[in-house]
């Protein structure tokens, strides 16, 4: 029922907008605004999330065809295709030509070349390279967060974001809280002054951590790191970036700005085995904003500890708790509660794609890349504050020379970080690690 009306909506609006398109759009964009045409979509990065995103794209629009898939690992593509086919069963034919399955570090180019719309869902270290290629070749993009693992990558993404803007390409970023009704509703209420001016907040991603992929005897060091990517900064960027970006991004969104400086502490207390690479297992960062707001940000990956994933902000007249979906008065009384439970509300992972494809069909433009890049940078700023133990300003991080991801990787490349004789990786040390 819901799906039916969505599709009708897409069709109807597409027809209405056709007339105005020819006169208002530059030629290049017009070539890629297709109200009725079958849209070709490619997937770059065929893990669980990328495969999920392809399914959501296909659910969003009837007239899409998956034309190509790319990954560094052939087994990931195989599993992805099985999963997508199983999901649709007989309801929708998924037919990807064998010659359009590309494997390797440069596979993204061939897959992107064949498409109108591309999903970029590799680990974040590769995003700047892939996004740049996608916008240079004029493709609409859905890409997962975060958008880079270092400031060099963020600057590259910002440049590409501008190119996308100039070409009127749609870019949706998987910071799905921006597409979640509860957040949108509370954002409007806070923005219209329901709890006064925001002065402080707390954001959390505390839980037991994620998977480990253990080393196999036949793997090179590079393949091992690519399989167990969560624990290597050049690919992942640490969990303060990879997961906690969601909550830091909500702080930026609700405050309406990016942090002026950050200071904090963190370390590697419990999750510190050889299989855990070199990232920290906890960070506690204080972000100070240009308007004077202070946000405490905590993220922890330690089993058996108190878990909480949430955002809370205090204003001059009350507070908002996003998890519960509540506004409270200064006395702590609930003054508003978002009425729909999350399991009955629209699925934000689906809404991202509904909006993206509706926008493409209508000839509109969504461009999440600027905010995605800046929230990525804010989380990296937090990471560098805990790694160095120093105060890091927005200007410093924006000009940081850190460049973690090697150019022109192939399977003979040496990864940028190597284990010592005992198989351990050098981890950052506050007070010793230098800001670059």
């Amino acid at each position: 029922m819901e799906k039916e009306s969505r599709r009708n909506f897409v069709k109807k609006t597409a027809i209405i907008s056709t007339g105005s398109l020819a006169t208002t759009l530059p030629v290049e964009a017009f070539a890629n605004v297709i109200e009725n045409k079958k849209l070709k979509i490619s997937l770059v990065g065929c893990g669980g999330r990328g495969s999920g995103a392809i399914v959501q794209a296909l659910e969003a629009d009837d007239n899409i065809e998956v034309v190509a898939m790319a990954d560094v690992f052939a087994d990931r593509v195989e599993r992805s295709i099985i999963g997508i086919k199983e999901h649709f069963g007989d309801k929708r034919k998924i037919n990807i030509k064998e010659k359009n399955i590309f494997i390797g570090f440069d596979s993204y180019k061939k897959a992107i070349d064949l498409s109108d719309v591309v999903i970029l869902a590799t680990p974040p270290g590769f995003r700047p390279l892939h996004f740049e290629y996608a916008v240079n070749t004029g493709k609409h993009v859905f890409m997962e967060k975060p958008l880079a693992t270092d400031a060099t990558g963020v600057r590259r993404v910002l440049k590409s974001a501008q190119i996308a803007k100039d070409k009127r390409l749609n870019v949706v970023v998987g910071l799905q809280r921006h597409y979640q009704n509860k957040y949108l509703d509370l954002y409007e209420k806070v923005k219209s002054g329901a709890i006064g001016k925001l002065v402080s907040g707390q954001v959390y991603w505390n839980d037991g951590g994620v998977w480990v992929n253990n080393r196999a005897s036949d793997q090179t060091e590079l393949e091992y790191q690519m399989r167990n990517w969560y624990y290597f900064n050049w690919i992942c960027g640490d969990h303060i970036l990879e997961q906690h970006i969601h909550n830091i991004d909500v702080a930026n969104w609700f405050i309406g700005d990016y942090p002026k400086y950050a200071q904090g502490m963190g370390g590697r207390e419990v999750r510190n085995g050889k299989e855990h690479g070199h990232i920290f297992d906890h960070h506690f960062v204080e972000f100070t904003y240009p308007g004077g707001q202070v946000i405490s940000s905590q993220c922890r990956h330690q089993k058996g500890t108190e878990s909480r994933v949430d955002e809370v902000f205090q204003g001059t007249r009350g507070s908002v708790t996003l998890g519960k979906g509540e506004l409270s008065s200064l006395d702590g009384d609930t003054i508003y509660k978002y009425p729909v439970s999350s399991s009955k509300d629209a699925n934000p992972y689906q809404v991202e794609h509904d909006k993206l494809f509706a926008s493409i069909r209508e000839g509109n433009v969504i461009n999440d890349a600027f905010n995605g890049a800046k929230s990525t940078l804010a989380a990296i700023m937090g990471r560098m504050a805990t790694y160095t133990g120093k105060k890091i300003t927005w200007e410093e991080i924006m000009n940081s020379k850190e460049n973690l991801v090697p150019d022109d990787l192939d399977w003979d490349s040496t990864p940028p970080i190597m284990p010592d004789k005992e198989g351990r990786y050098k981890s950052p040390k506050p007070g010793i690690t230098k800001f670059i």
Binding site: G47, G48, R49, S51, G52, A53, I54, V55, Q56, R79, S80, I82, G83, I84, E86, H87, N206, D207, G208, G209, V210, W211, V212, N213, N214, Q243, K303, G304, S307, R308, V309, D310, G323, S341, S342, S343, N347, P348, Y349
Partner: protein
Amino acid sequence: MNMFINLFLFPIFLTLQDLSNKKNNFTQIITEDDLSIEMVFIPEGKFRMGKDTLNSYDYSPSNDVEVSSFWISKFEITWDIYQLFMDQTNFDEKSDFSRADFIDKIDGLSGPTTPYVDMSFGMGKNNFPAVNMTHFAASKFCEWLSSKTGFYYRLPTEAEWEYACSDEMDNLKIDDFAWNRYNSDEKYQKVGQKKPNIYGLHDMLGNVAEWTADIYNKDVYSKKRKKNPFESGENKYPRVIRGGSWDDESSNLKSYYRSFSTKELQRRDPQIPKSLWWNTDAPHIGFRIVRPFNKESQKLKKMFWNYSD
């Protein structure tokens, strides 16, 4: 690793097993960490399963059904115990292999993958009921516990569940016995705070709804089943869910009320394939466990433990 646990722990439990073969309540100690599961003996008997109504609800027509003796856990399984299952079966490379046909290739027992978010959804863990596990995961918990303790555990059948709940519950003041939509503060609560039923079982109705072993079949009551009925099957859903939850109207909190799983329980799982182990939209579904008094065949055990062959 599980082999190790077996060899190591089995002798300790031999003595306990002797005790627990008697028709008494017993306490299943499960680890060195002071965790235990209280098991209540339910004597065999006959009861009226379902409820007759003029409308064609799935719980009518009612039948006289005979159930053999079993023990059932006094409380819903808590996160404390479920976490141990997660930790002790966690060989993480299988997180890439979250599909049933890969599972059989792994030596020994498999257990839940590490979820991307805290699956308690911030509703609490210490002594709170575990939720959001799939039916498959709950079945595998029973297999893990069996392997760990040397006793055979499984999910209750729908008939065992209804028998142990008892229809006396249906006429009592529900707020005294069950956390429901109107008294739960919109979340599950610590187990065992409400009054127990006639067998001494807590939270049979309300708090979290509970997985049973059966495949859901709307018309199954018209089959006039007589003894230990059980609808087996391999499909992920629909599986029967009983008891209603903190999120239910009190009218759904009845001994005979039947609910069932659908793929909507994984609606917000952003990955493909969807997790074999975790539901993203079931913060109201947990489970409790049963140990049958009579021996069950290896074939039946594997069926209960969700093997696909």
